[in-house]
Symmetry: C2
Subunit: 336 residues, 2 copies
DNA sequence: CTGTTAGCGCGTTCAA
DNA sequence: TTGAACGCGCTAACAG
């Protein structure tokens, strides 16, 4: 049924070792022999069995990636960066959604390890001791991708979420705003949630603006929650003149909520966010936002992983990619 | 270094066959023995090697999925459907982007087959003879996902793109429009391109409306190309009163282009599309569109694949999922 | 209910 | 430059 390296050897009149050599591009084969083997391979339609190879060589040229949700545009973009670089280095990707749920994360990490992946890319929520434990029991390299490690012991690549949020809010302040609300992510989420919230607070503090609890709502990163939060803000007696949303999607919800209530962005209320996903250019007005290089985060983390897998020494195993303020049209000064 | 089934057997004082049995939940093990084995596993931190298992059992519990672009919201949603069902049946997913490029598609199909996947989900552009050939050389089941097979010989799940487009354009006609433009995808793309274009033409024809070449532009599915096409239409001396876009993204580009030029949607120009991706609810006005059940397409195709992998007999290996007109606010009758 | 024995398909010494 | 032989870690008969 299936043709093996053994069949090819017989067909070509050589030993299986020789076939193995030509398949793996080992130079120690006479060109003529190599040719014979190639012909036999062709004739028989031989396809190497990567599983057998994996067992014998203890390498699968496969890396595992655990991701919160591939249907989320942000993560999908990161995944694309990962896959492109993986492909470039001839690795394949086993993709697992884990929804930032710890139990699911631990579970898929283990199945991935059982599958003998050569490395692991982890994108998730908080990295707990249990995570670290699971990582430690493996002997393949791990890198955290768009995910922060409190302890800082695991290689990772991400942006500085706190600083990104800080920069966003600072723009608002520079424009003269003092009444700045925030639509936050859940505070249990270290990166997109907590860190961005901290950046917001620090910016306020530095500008001597008092923090108000009723100026902060936590959303779930989705469009609808941006609308909900904003409708709450607009109902306040002293409504904010600017809104900082932790993500583009919530920001767009904010924009539409403001517009739907007959106000204007940015004339009545300014809106800014973090992400710069593609949709931030697919609204009116164009969204001002702090860009997070999603594709690069994926690409760089995969590149880092390849180095680790080759046991190359890496100088800096904790890379922070730069973010960048993208000024478009959703921010203006407050009304006089 | 690595602890094997053998070590566990020794530790538990049983044979490796017994360990294998408990690991695989074979009922033929005395509870007491089972317990001993579990303890030994625990003590040693044994983790089964799925590669060895795969070699011995000729099953990898892994399926390959080739996808055009995981960063594309539509496909990402399909992928989520696939992964959820795969997960439910304890399969893992090897994900490969192929950008609808034939050479890349063929290449990844082959690597996936080398990795001994138990099945293959193919999402791509045209299914050529070369594709079919590659499929035939494998002895694992394949199902086409959101992809049409001209010959109809390969199991597949998709919607009827022609009918979906037809329905969309028909709504426009029912509203009284006679000047209907289309922003098409590339005609080489059988499903999202050609079929939707055919649906447009059929609707026109049935209504006795003459087809005009200058009322059709082909875009690349992206927002920007929606803008470009629309700006062309708006420059026409007798500009259309309605635009049918092959995808949501292009439709939103159309909406914004219309608005940016001082006109109103739907008062001056109506816009309709196919997809109903999440962004169709993230615009003003809300986009009227024909819904394509992306998640379900993924889920159903994965479900079908599991049946095929279990060699269950399936009645209908070519499933067409229903589409549905979602009436929102971007369509109105033409101005009197 | 449990153990023994063969392979699964290939990489990799080690000799020749 | 080539081949023979072993083993990767596990499943799957087959015995008992």
């Amino acid at each position: 049924m299936t043709v093996t390296i053994y069949d090819v050897a017989r067909e070509a009149g050589v030993s299986m070792a020789t076939v193995s050599r030509v398949v793996n591009n080992n130079p120690n084969v006479k060109p003529q022999t190599r040719k014979k083997v190639y012909e036999a391979i062709e004739r028989l339609g031989y396809r190497p069995n990567a599983v057998a190879r994996g067992l014998a060589s203890k390498k699968t040229t496969t890396v595992g990636v655990v991701i919160p949700d591939i249907a989320n545009a942000i993560f999908a973009e990161v995944a694309r960066g990962i896959e492109d670089i993986a492909n470039m280095y001839h690795y394949n990707i086993i993709l697992c959604n884990a929804d930032k749920r710890k139990d699911k994360e631990i579970r898929v990490i283990n199945t991935l390890l059982e599958k003998q992946v050569d490395g692991l890319l982890f994108m998730g929520g908080a990295v707990t001791d249990d995570h670290v434990l699971a990582f430690k029991t493996s002997n393949v390299p791990i890198v955290l991708c768009a995910t922060t490690d409190e302890k800082g012991v695991i290689p990772s690549v991400d942006i500085d979420h706190e600083a990104a949020a800080f920069d966003a809010v600072n723009l608002l302040i520079a424009e003269g705003h003092r009444s700045i609300a925030m639509i936050s992510g859940t505070l249990q989420d270290p990166a997109n949630g907590y860190a961005r919230f901290q950046g917001y607070k620090r910016a306020l503090e530095q500008a001597g603006i008092a923090y108000r609890e009723d100026y902060v709502r936590v959303g779930n990163y989705r469009y609808e929650s941006g609308i909900d939060a904003t409708s709450y803000f607009l109902g306040l007696s002293d409504r904010p003149t600017a809104i900082f949303a932790a993500t583009d999607e919530m920001a767009i919800g904010a924009v539409h909520c403001i517009q739907d209530s007959g106000l204007s962005v940015p004339d009545d209320v300014s809106v800014i966010s973090v992400d710069n996903s593609r949709i931030s250019s697919m609204v009116r007005p164009l969204l001002t936002t702090v860009a997070q290089p999603m594709y690069d985060i994926g690409a760089v983390s995969m590149r880092l992983l390849t180095k680790l897998m080759k046991k190359e020494t890496v100088e800096n195993a904790k890379v922070t990619l730069p973010h960048e303020l993208i000024v478009r049209r959703s921010v203006a000064g407050p009304k006089a």
